[in-house]
Symmetry: none
Subunit: 196 residues, 4 copies
DNA sequence: CATGAATGAGTTTTCATTCAT
DNA sequence: GATGAATGAAAACTCATTCAT
């Protein structure tokens, strides 16, 4: 394997290690040694692949966002041709988001962690801003395939994203009985599609 | 001043100091000395008034929740008599929530901080669960004054709370231009009231 | 009650509180608040009755030694007249020492604590020196009632005291099976009496 | 020097530093910084080589016991062949114990420190139990070479060890004039050998 | 006399980072 | 490139003692 790819491989390992660590402990309480041990890499070497602990985090956030972006795009690619009715396709897309993103508890946990860091760290904040802005725009474009009203689409896309975000939060901390997240999402989805 | 109230006064001071600190730094990066300095209290004394740093946090969360609960209840008390139409009253209540809670940026920041801690700390998680369950129930009762459909009310209350939570998150990090939070909330509010 | 006796009463309470505390924790790990709480006295008041934590300890050591000295002397007083044969009386005295002192586990623990402090604290060391010197002299006088040989008596008294001290140590830490302290003491006692 | 031996070297240094420190101050009053300074090692590094302060102590106790065990065994090795009469050999062995162990004041001090810690710390207690049980067994085996009576040997070995322990205590705190430890030990030794 | 609030030095421990090998 | 030894700042927490009320 070339140097380049050894480097890339190691960085990938470290990203995945941080991902695992964040499921256990907040970033602040995760030590460089924890990450190294999880990645099965010498802890001194982390500073060879990344400048600092913050640098690891910043790269991780990009990695995570990229991962889910391409995950969603791949799904779009492989499903867009199979459905004729744009409304059906929108419904299927929303279903995908619900199950793979909104109700993905690990992901939700990690996103809260990132939101929290973003509040006090402007570099992280920027990355999060960019990601959510793009995400809302993606939703917007999807809606525009079903309605011609730009104002409505813009507003709905923000509202929908916000609603998903809130459900994602609730589904981690509240009892499933209290929120019945799945059914609730389904209900709102139908109302929303009717509305268009 | 009596001993009893010195005690209470100091604890109050400490709560407010932590509040200020959390607007600047995450809890983990806020040292006991930071809190003490902000409260203008000797740092050793913090362990006189509270058992540990975690104890301060737990008390703070209760204090914060209690503060906003009574804030909301007071508003209800002083406005419930002035409005005849329950729908008007619901609209006014929602307006109050939007402006004083959902779009209160300081509060939103601190709540994200608490959410994050809750993920890894079960005591904090319990407190948050209780607070949100009560909050959703409050919203539910308000809705039940306007509709007789219990299932709808239950689901709407969770959905509304989640939507507010999401908007609250977005309003801290995203550009006001992107989300136009105020107008968005207003729009959804009207749709929502029409729906009932 | 007069002031004098209130003062004396409180000091007595504190001595007994320290005694209880030392059965739980070493002196260094016993805080002034622990002692005060055990004595059911305000912790600030301890400095009214004693100058410092060390002062409490010094007084306690004297109190403890005095207590066991008079305990032993009272026994001597009430039993000396009932026995004619000095050898029988010596045997009975040794029995008393074995059961009430050497094999008194609480006392042994506290004495190890005091020995340890004495090594590094000259004031405590002095008190311990005095107490053991007197103790050895008491044993010496008892032996002299049975033998006329002064050199033998002097040497035996030190040896006997040392042996008791060692058994006292062993009986706290080693299994009763390993040392069979009671039987061992009895055995040696008989050898010792035969020897005289 | 290899990494492996740097590790071992440092641990050794730390053990010796604690040994020196314990001659000055009790363990509780010896700070991690004191030990580090004595070992001429950075204080943060102590936690690199040992888990905690208690871990250092536990390792030290093992190190100390091991040191004296092998010290004694080496002496046995090099002297066992030169003496024909087992009684002479026993006498010589006891002489060795008297001078190198019982009357070794530094060692006695440190052992009192360890005894004291053992009372309140079960891990230390275990180590001490094991060490003394082995020690008594060693003495027992030595006596069995001179007498066939197992019960006597067992009892004598405990008694002898206890006596030495007591003399060791006394020799630290009492005046040499009062106890004449050397002569006393010699006397008892002869009585003891006669007895066998 | 009694109370308990306040002080701040001191403790153990953690950890990102550096750097010699 | 890889390793792990070393550094020292900073954290939470404890506590004897003082002193105003």
């Amino acid at each position: 394997m070339s140097r380049r790819s050894v480097q890339a491989e190691r960085r990938q390992q470290i990203m995945e290690a941080l991902h695992k660590c964040l499921l256990e402990k907040p970033f602040d309480q995760t030590s460089i040694k924890d990450i190294a041990a999880t990645a099965q890499i010498n802890y001194g070497a982390l500073h060879y692949y990344f400048e600092s602990k913050e640098d690891i985090l910043l790269n991780y956030i990009e990695y995570l966002i990229e991962r889910y972006k391409s995950f969603f795009e791949e799904w779009i690619q492989s499903n867009s041709s199979s459905m004729q009715d744009p409304k059906d396709f929108l419904r299927a897309s929303i279903d995908f988001v619900h199950h793979k993103i909104t109700l993905n508890q690990d992901l939700s946990k990690i996103f809260i962690e990132i939101w929290e860091i973003a509040i006090y760290n402007s570099k992280v904040k920027e990355k999060l801003q960019k990601a959510y802005t793009e995400w809302i725009e993606t939703v917007n474009l999807a809606i525009l395939k079903v309605t011609a009203n730009k104002t409505t689409a813009a507003r709905l896309s923000v509202g929908l994203a916000a609603f998903w975000e809130g459900i994602s939060l609730f589904s981690i901390i509240l009892d499933e009985k209290t929120i019945e997240a799945g059914a609730l999402l389904k209900d709102f989805q139908e109302q929303f599609l009717k509305f268009l």
